[in-house]
């Protein structure tokens, strides 16, 4: 019995690095105690992290699947698990199980397409693995545009990586924006949905969007006015996942289980679901 794999029984993970991204987002690097990556994953998949006696919570794996050494999680402080993680130090062990959920169709639908990533705030976290995956296999995709916005410059997650790596890549345009003007910011100011409209992308792109529901809603509207179809737009709902294995009964929206049928959905698929998300 005890030798049968049980998906609910987690592995041990060790936090080997903690990076402060924004005032309320930290990025944690996690490996197994013997220094390896806990398991392989695909872009957009999630892992269940837990701290005994504190709780379990699902997080998207923000590091790219092409990184074979470790996983990273960008985590915003919001409830007990995340609060606890935010005070954790290097060397702290946690438990990890996964991967959960379906990945973005990077090798199928996305292949050969121009990609437009739209993210707001911590919404970049689930997209980061996709973006870096696409950067890694750069030749498999067309042009990549990234629109990313946050409340302020300080709230932009992974700012360093964006500045030092993404913007320098060929064929990648990064469009950053912040909600309100501030000193030391000479980039765009304004909300993401408006910025997307302003940028007025060609409608041949596949869009991957993640952020606060209100941002998604208005960005979608914006994209529609630009002439996009819902079939071109993908998003992820990993926040709705709980047990990760399609059994606990929480994450379903209509007959779809986010943890099994998602968390990645195409917007036309979402449209078919009852309005309960």
């Amino acid at each position: 019995m005890a030798n049968i794999e049980e998906t609910l029984i987690p592995k041990i993970g060790v936090i080997t690095d903690v990076r402060i991204d924004t005032p309320d987002v930290k990025t944690f690097r996690v490996v197994t105690p013997d220094g390896k990556k806990a398991f392989d994953h695909k872009p957009g998949q999630c892992a269940m992290l837990s701290i005994p006696a504190v709780g379990e919570a699902m997080f998207s794996i923000t590091s790219s699947p092409t990184n074979t050494e470790f996983m990273e999680f960008s985590i915003k402080k919001c409830d007990c698990v995340t609060e606890w993680l935010h005070q954790a130090e290097v060397g702290q062990q946690i438990t990890i199980r996964g991967p959960y959920g379906n990945p973005f169709p990077v090798d199928d639908e996305f292949a050969g397409k121009d990609l437009l990533f739209v993210a707001g705030g911590i919404g970049l976290a689930p997209l980061r693995s996709v973006i870096n995956y696409c950067r890694h296999y750069r030749d498999r995709y067309g042009k990549i545009d990234i629109v990313y916005g946050s409340r302020s410059k300080a709230d932009l997650v992974d700012y360093n990586e964006i500045i030092t790596e993404w913007v320098t890549d060929d064929g990648i345009d990064v469009h950053l924006t912040i909600d309100n003007a501030e000193e030391g910011w000479d980039g765009h100011v304004g909300f993401v949905p408006n910025y997307v409209k302003e940028l007025g992308f060609d409608t041949n792109k596949t869009v991957i969007i993640c952020g606060p529901p209100i941002m998604i809603k208005f960005t979608l509207e914006g994209l529609m006015t630009l002439g996009y179809e819902k079939t071109q737009v993908y998003t992820t709902m990993e926040l709705r996942m709980k047990c990760g294995v399609g059994k606990c009964g929480r994450c379903n929206i209509g007959d779809k289980y986010v943890c099994k049928d998602g968390p990645v959905f195409r917007c036309d698929q979402l449209e078919e679901l009852p309005d309960e998300y």
């Binding site: 019995m1 609910l8 005994p52 379903n252």
Partner: protein, 339 residues
Amino acid sequence: MRKCKTDALDAVFAEIAKSSLLYIPTDTEKGAEYKKWSDGMKMSNALNTVRSPKDFFFPQTEDLMEFKVNGKEIEVIDTRSEKEDFVVFGVRACDVKSFEILDRVFLIDPCDSYYANRREHSTIVSVACTRPVETCFCQTFGIDAAAPEGDVSCWKTDSEVYFKANTPKGEALLAKLEGITVDADDKDVTAQQEKTREIMKKLPLAELSADKFGAGKTEEFFNAPEWDELSESCLGCGTCTFVCPTCQCYDIKDYNTGHGVIRFRCWDSCMYSDFTKMAHGNPRLTQKERFRQRFMHKLVYYPSNNDGLFSCVGCGRCLAKCPISMNIVKVMKTIGKSE
């Protein structure tokens, strides 16, 4: 088919108990309950147990694992152990069907080894109904109370008990009973079945149909205005979900004993206001949404994902136990607009 005299049932129990744990429904002051058989214990004639037999596979709480925490280090202790073989004797047709419904949740990939372990080690002996009551509506979901499934099906007549093995597990069990049972034809059984089926037709809920529901009907019913009035007086307690043999929502929680942390799984209820509360918010904020979820799940979502199989077996427990007497029958009639 094999049979024995009714008064040989004690010997049957004794024989089964020799090689495995045996549970039978037995009468208590508060109704029938499954109990571990011991010498002299009589099987209840009650139609059904107060509590459903889902506990055998999906107990109210079960420990999943333990953690030891030492400074920054964590040790995971796998506390699983191989279960003993056990036999549940006397499960009604509706409840037997509930196991299939649970199986389709727990045994699909990734398989839940806790559930699977119990399931593997169990042998289910069903017993056919002869006196269904007004709250019974198993036939609505295509269940034949007179022909229960299970590893072994069994029929009790006035003087005899008939056994029929349906699975290799069932055959193995009957093999053990060879000394007590004799071969039999199915004449009496068929007669009994016919009689029972006649009664079924006369039940008050006999006309209740699930035809309007099923896979792909989300749009049709999700926004029905009737959900408001139906859910209006719902207390948001978990009675219906906990007495239900097919409700399987759970929560995983940790308990810090001071010496370690036990991670356990426990029943949870989609009727509870915090059921879907997660870090980012709660997608089902009102009782209406929660109420709708439960019935939509049983009547539409589950069938959508499970070849049209409904996740209600018509056992009638919720009809008897809901504090405010709201139940799936009233929901089906109202939402399905039938009288």
